[in-house]
């Protein structure tokens, strides 16, 4: 019980170094994982989905229930011995056992051939009149384009955020906000590397959304700090930030909870694509809520306490304590 009371009166700014250390450890672990898995190139340390590679992926369910070996045999006979085959317990919602087959890029005639071979051997299932069969093909340049346009998008988004927060608050606020953003990004990317989850275009969309949404809580706290500053002008800056955090803590927790509900539901009940979105959003939202209190605000405080009048207040408070 005590915990809930304590979070409303805890000296968050006094423990800045702890928060920075914790974040550094998590981010460090992610970065190390990226470097190790990528063999020195962090960009390679992620498990990229088909969109970023070259190849063809077929998702299919059969009426006869073949084993993984059966499917592999048929594909090998058709000349695709190097195909990667995965079994999925039920193809998006149906009770049918499904297979995901990934091969090198197939031409239209080759696609036909593979489908025909599979159909002849196991009969592609048609639960409601239409075949359970989907196919994706990605050429070599497509993935590179997606990655480069995403990096551009992140850079521009950060720049816009920097400008907007500077315009609405002050550049010191903006630095804290951007630090929190980069923190959130690195944590999401790091967790993707650590868990080896597949990075898809959906993941990238989710990451960009996190950029915007994770500032929600930060803006709430910043707004309160801006409002409290003239009222509590004689209080050391760090203490004033603490008061602002206490006062907005309930709404930070509630807004985070409320967004987490639907996102959790997506992760639990959604299909594969929705799950991709949901997981990245989940990590990003949690990280965003954390970083508003433990990254954005402390960094703002560090900058602000360097201002002469704030330094004086801090020193005065310290000598009072002794």
């Amino acid at each position: 019980m005590n915990f809930f009371r304590r979070i409303y009166s805890f000296d968050y700014m006094g423990h800045k170094r702890w928060w920075f250390t914790i974040s550094a450890i998590i981010i460090g672990a992610g970065l190390i994982s990226m470097f190790v898995k990528g063999g020195g190139n962090p960009v390679q340390g992620l498990n990229y989905g088909l969109e970023f590679k070259e190849g063809t992926r077929v998702t299919v369910a059969f009426e006869k229930q073949p084993t993984l070996g059966d499917v592999r045999q048929i594909l090998a006979d058709a000349g695709y011995a190097d195909a990667q085959i995965q079994e999925t317990p039920n193809v998006s919602g149906t009770d049918l056992k499904g297979f995901q087959i990934q091969t090198t890029t197939l031409s239209t005639t080759e696609q036909d051939k593979v489908k025909q071979a599979l159909n002849d051997a196991f009969t592609i299932a048609k639960p409601s009149g239409t075949e359970v069969y989907s196919l994706e093909t990605v050429g070599a340049t497509f993935g590179r384009q997606v990655v480069s346009s995403s990096i551009k998008a992140v850079a521009i988004a950060l720049l816009l955020i920097l400008i907007y927060v500077t315009f609405r608050f002050q550049w010191k606020f903006a630095v804290g906000a951007i630090a929190a953003e980069i923190h959130d990004l690195l944590i999401v990317v790091g967790i993707y590397s650590l868990t080896g989850r597949e990075v898809t275009t959906a993941t990238i969309a989710a990451v960009l959304t996190i950029l915007g949404y994770s500032l929600y809580d930060t803006v709430i706290v910043y707004d309160r700090i801006r409002e409290n500053q003239p009222k509590l002008s004689r209080m050391p800056y760090g203490d004033m930030v603490n008061v602002s955090i206490w006062e907005t803590l309930t709404r930070s927790i509630n807004t985070t909870m409320i967004v987490l509900f639907p996102v959790l539901c997506l992760d639990l009940f959604g299909g594969a694509t929705l799950k991709d979105f949901a997981f990245a959003l989940l990590v990003g939202i949690l990280s965003g809520a954390y970083s508003s209190i433990f990254v954005a605000s402390p960094i703002l405080t560090v900058f602000k306490e360097r201002e002469p009048q704030n330094r004086k207040l801090k020193l005065a408070a310290r000598s009072d304590q002794r």
Binding site: N2, R5, R6, S9, F10, D11, T59, V91, S92, G93, T108, K115, K126, T130, E131, V132, Y133, S134, E136, T137, V138, G139, T141, V146, S149, S150, A153, A157, T201, A202, A205, L208, T209, G212, Y216, V219, I220, D223, P236, V243, E247, N254, T255, M257, I258, V259, F261, P262, V263, C265, L266, L268, F269, G271, T273, L274, F277, L281, A317, D320
Partner: protein
């Protein structure tokens, strides 16, 4: 309030019946999406005019397939995306759409055909190299099939006649191209085999007549029948012979040509005629991305998304109700109104709902509820600082909305960036997000505000318990009151009170944002006490 009622009614009008009025993307209703990279015949990037021309031709081909709601779009400078929701036969569509359909006629004399027939591509290229053609030229031919001077042509194996695969190299330019074609139709040739008959333009007829006449004459001279090749996209379709013993051919053939090679099925001959009729693409299309979703998978995804969305919405409704009691009810009503408006908007404007779009919608449920949380917390706070409920609603709403505005603008900024830079599917997500955030703010302005305004007029509403300020909270915080800055702020707040007047109930129940500070907060609270003294 009236505006709101009109909007909700309009939305309902657009939504019902949902099955007809919501446009579903192909990931939800099944279909085919292809992104092509376009290259000119010799492997260069296409010009903007060529790309536009390509889109025009693709449009005609897609229309011929009978797919409604198809979309063909330029992506970047050298890509074209084709989406065909609900297409039945994806394989047939692929065959027809992506075909360059570059029809060419080559004469079969040694000057026009330096190499062939040989058994493999490598052998053909090797032979050409021996004739002194440069290495760069050979490499270009190997990758692109066509260079400025040569074309590498394949003649596929024919299982019926037992003829194996053969390769040729022809010298460019061809004797005639597809530009000379006016029309094409499927028919039946010798022995009732399906074929395609080509009609020429008047200029084309003259050219064709000239070629065939020349072949007839050289046939007479050499005492040997001459042939020419009809080539489509570097594949030899037909190799007709001009019979020099038939005097009827003395003046050449002007009527038309026939493609009868191989063993076309009737469907194939129809497809080929159709493609030839729509004209050749000025570029080669290489599939860069292809997604084919069956209708069953699409429907599953849609259902899962809707279930997830409804459960998520339900949880949020319950949470708001439990946490904010009566205010929660207001928020829940606002959320439902929000849902109707958003869905109405999506049905009213031509936006296609995709799976990522559904994810965006579900996320905005949270964003919309967030707006209420921020406003309500602010109102509760104002009540604790001693305002009457009515003035707390006014000032709390105004201040809360300012925070929401900043937060939402940031969300929309990044969504806009995503919309501009992302490729197809995240685009749908970004658009939903932007629309959702806008509608959520509209709901907060028009609905929540109005509801609170109306309710503040009722006497029962002014009891703090309706604000979620409970008795236990009041007792726990009165002791801490004097120790925190809240007390001071409360006085300031009462001073600046304009319309509220004294509020005895609220003062006694005022709950400070910060309860009694235990160990962790000691340092800050002490320093604050000191400061007060100095003051």
């Amino acid at each position: 309030m009236l505006v709101m009622a009109v909007l909700v009614a309009a939305s309902l009008y657009f939504i019902i019946p949902p099955s007809q009025k919501t446009r579903l993307g192909l990931d939800l209703q099944g279909g085919l999406e292809i992104v092509y990279s376009a290259k000119t015949a010799d492997g260069k990037a296409p010009s903007s005019a060529e790309l536009d021309q390509t889109i025009g031709i693709l449009d005609r081909r897609v229309n011929g397939l009978g797919v409604t709601e198809s979309a063909i779009q330029k992506q970047g400078t050298d890509q074209v995306s084709v989406s065909l929701p609900g297409v039945k036969d994806a394989q047939q569509a692929l065959q027809i759409i992506g075909k360059t359909a570059q029809l060419e006629f080559f004469k079969d004399d040694p000057r026009s055909r330096p190499v062939g027939p040989v058994a493999s591509k490598d052998a053909a290229l090797k032979q050409l190299k021996r004739q002194g053609v440069s290495k760069a030229e050979i490499e270009g031919l190997s990758t692109d099939g066509t260079t400025a001077d040569y074309s590498l042509i394949q003649s596929p194996a024919d299982p019926v006649s037992g003829q194996p695969e053969q390769w040729y190299v022809y010298k460019r330019p061809p004797a005639m191209t597809g530009d000379a074609v006016k029309g094409a139709r499927a028919g039946f040739g010798q022995g009732g085999k399906p074929n395609v008959l080509i009609d020429f333009t008047s200029e084309g007829s003259r050219q064709f007549q000239k070629i065939t006449r020349e072949l007839y004459r050289s046939g007479l001279l050499k005492n040997e029948p001459q042939t020419f090749a009809i080539v489509l996209d570097n594949v030899m379709e037909s190799d007709p012979m001009i019979d020099y013993t038939d005097p009827g051919l003395r003046d050449g053939i002007s009527s038309g040509a026939e493609i009868s090679g191989g063993n076309m099925t009737l469907q194939e001959s129809k497809d080929l005629a159709f493609v030839l009729k729509t004209g050749a693409l000025p570029v080669k299309l290489i599939p860069a991305f292809q997604q084919q979703v069956s209708a069953t998978l699409g429907k599953d995804s849609l259902n899962q998304g809707l279930i997830a969305g409804l459960i998520g919405l339900g949880l949020v409704l319950i949470y708001m109700l439990v946490y904010y009691r009566f205010l929660g009810l207001v928020a829940d009503l606002a959320l439902i109104v929000y849902g109707i408006l958003l869905w109405g908007l999506f049905s009213a404007i031509p936006v296609t709902l995709t799976l990522p779009g559904i994810a965006g919608m579900i996320l905005t449920i949270g964003v919309a509820a967030d707006a209420n949380v921020v406003i309500f917390e602010r109102i509760k706070e104002e009540v604790r600082y001693g305002k009457t409920v009515r003035s707390a609603v006014n000032s709390g709403y105004a201040r809360g909305f300012k925070t929401i505005l900043d937060a939402n603008i940031l969300t929309m900024l990044t969504a806009a960036v995503l919309f501009v830079f992302a490729t197809a599917s995240p685009k749908g997500f970004a658009l939903t997000l932007i629309l959702g955030v806008l509608v959520s703010m509209l709901t907060a302005v028009l609905f929540t505000r109005a509801m609170l305004g109306v309710l503040a007029g009722f006497a029962f509403f002014s009891r703090p318990v309706f604000m979620g300020v409970s008795a236990s909270q009041i007792e726990a915080t009165t002791a801490a009151e004097s120790r925190t800055g809240a007390a001071r702020r409360r006085r300031a707040a009462t001073r600046t009170e304009v319309d509220g007047g004294p509020a005895p109930a609220a003062v006694s129940t005022a709950a400070a944002a910060a309860p009694a500070p235990p160990a962790g907060g000691r340092r800050t609270s002490t320093s604050r006490k000191k400061k007060k003294k100095r003051r």
